[in-house]
Amino acid sequence: MSLRDLFGFAARALRGHRLRTGLSLLGVAIGVAAVVTLTALGEGARLYVIGQFASVGTNLLIVVPGRTETTGGMPGMGGVPNDLTLEDARAVLRGVPEIDKAAPIVMGTETVAFGERRRQVALAGGTHEMLEVRRLGIASGRFLPPLEWDRSSPVAVLGQKSAAELFPGRDPVGQIIRVGDWRMRVIGVLAPRGQQLGVDMDDVVIVPVTTAMKMLNRRSLFRLLLQVRTHADLDRAKERVVRLIAERHGEEDVTGITQDAVLGAFTSILRALTLALAGIASVSLAVAGVGIMNVMLVSVSERTREIGLLKALGAGQRQILLAFLAEAVLLSTTGGLLGLLVGWLAVRLLVAVYPALPATPPPWAVVAAFSLSVAVGALFGVLPARRATRLDPVAALSGR
């Protein structure tokens, strides 16, 4: 009996009971669609996070004052460190050839006011290099000019939201604002950026780093962002930077953080989440399998006479087993394909509603969901099929 005849026979039998067949198809389809959609969600979350990191550049090396053993942990919790200074930043730029650009950063909070409008914002001290190193964009005006790092200047660049709040419906470029006790001229507005490294880059005021240190009365940098020439040099650059600063400070009191470590942690967490979602969705596939078994058992008992006839016509036990297994597998496979389609549509809908979430089912989940649905049919089809083969032909022919 050829495979084609086998499945042809099975398909004819299934078409004989459209409602019953349709319902068990639906069961499998829901299971597969659930796996596809839920894993797409998990994968979307992972890609979203990766995208967030990639937006600040994957060649980024972050140096924070303080010694921590664990990458990706809370920096600044190991004793009292020496200051991380602009001189350190300059030394790194001179002494480590892998470093392309350095962007020293100072952070604090300050009140910004324009006329009667006031707003508490994050104050960032930066340099001209910050624009490139942090992958920022300019919506209007320009970014901090390429000054000497230790020169102060009363200019400020506003984040998108800060600008909108302080200057509703107006272009702030050229206006004078007050930042704390300082009067500053707005020279530019950032393009919308959202959260970056835990700072809302839309609600920020950026001023030259030396100015910020004076305003906040700080001597140490908050962070030193370093752009490494090539991604492959990242680990070596980190080692050399940390060693160089240690030599300058007389002890190893800074920590180098690369995105890879943080990203790795996030990725493994979100992978686990996706896997868990897939597992939950698979339960519905198992339930669908029980549904198939039920339908097949009904089918076997309804078709007792037919099975008796097939035996009388010389169908072997193996052939009858295969015929009923083929029915179960056909059910689950068709249901699986249907589920892939429904899942795909659901994911498309999701992306249409939440364009920010790059929801896409991972290939392994699609393959696994479909294979699982086929396997479920084969597995849960065995019992009914065996029942069919074991029928006594004489009893079966008389419908007993």
């Binding site: 084609r4 005849d5 004819r12 035996k311 016509l313 072997g316």
Partner: protein, 241 residues
């Protein structure tokens, strides 16, 4: 062709043994036309099932074409049923979702014959029973007589040596019944061994040889020309004397 030696079959019905066949010995030659008669419960159906390899005797030997089929395993038996035996049933047993043509094709599907050849042979058999124009009809679109003719086409499509008919006219009116019998006899005339189980004397009398069973034993052997003897014994048996 067929040799039965001391064949016995006992069923267990509600804890009580029922002797369906007791020590039946018989020889049936190739090309014979044999009728098996008997009241209900006489064991005639059991005998037919054993002859058709759907059931096995508890004791005794059943030799078919020189093979002791009572000793064969299930896989071998299904091959014997497929290639050596054809069945015609009282209730036709057509698969309702398949067309007449597909029903006739069914044994060939399991025999692994390619679709093209299958179609051709099935069409030929339908032509033989005069149903070629009805090939694409489903069983519920056919009359009883037509259904039985489809069943006969199906039973003979793999060229069996032995055709077993269980009350083939039991569900038909006289005209279609006669038509069915004529086809069976034509098949028999072309060399097919025909065994018909019936309680209808009009059917049995057309057989060359008649066996009458009662309580699992052969109580009479006669021929079609002397059907009245068989009928007398049969009615005596049915009246319990």
């Amino acid at each position: 062709m067929i040799r039965l030696e001391g064949l016995s079959r006992t069923f267990d019905v509600g804890g009580e043994p029922v002797h369906a066949l007791v020590d039946v010995s018989e020889a049936i030659a190739a090309g014979e036309h044999l009728a098996i008669m008997g009241p209900s419960g006489s064991g005639k159906s059991t005998l037919l099932h054993i002859l058709g390899c759907l059931d096995r005797p508890d004791r005794g030997a059943y030799e078919l074409l020189g093979r002791d089929v009572a000793r064969l395993d299930e896989a071998e038996l299904s091959l014997v049923r497929r290639h050596t035996i054809g069945f015609v049933f009282q209730f036709f047993h057509l698969v309702p979702r398949l067309t007449a043509l597909e029903n006739v094709e069914l044994p060939m599907v399991f025999a692994g014959i390619p679709a093209g050849e299958r179609r051709e042979r099935a069409m030929g058999r339908l032509r033989d029973v005069g149903l070629e124009p009805r090939a694409s009809h489903r069983p519920d679109q056919l009359s009883g007589g037509e259904r039985q003719r489809v069943a006969m086409a199906r039973a003979t499509v793999l060229d069996p040596k032995l055709l077993l008919a269980d009350e083939p006219t039991g569900n038909l009116d006289t005209t279609s019944g006669r038509h069915v019998l004529e086809i069976l006899e034509r098949m028999n005339a072309s060399g097919l061994t025909l065994i018909v189980v019936t309680h209808d004397p009009a059917v049995a009398r057309r057989a060359r040889r008649i066996l009458v069973l009662k309580d699992g034993r052969v109580v009479h052997r006669g021929d079609g020309a002397h059907i009245h003897e068989a009928v007398e014994i049969l009615s005596a048996a049915e009246n319990g004397t």
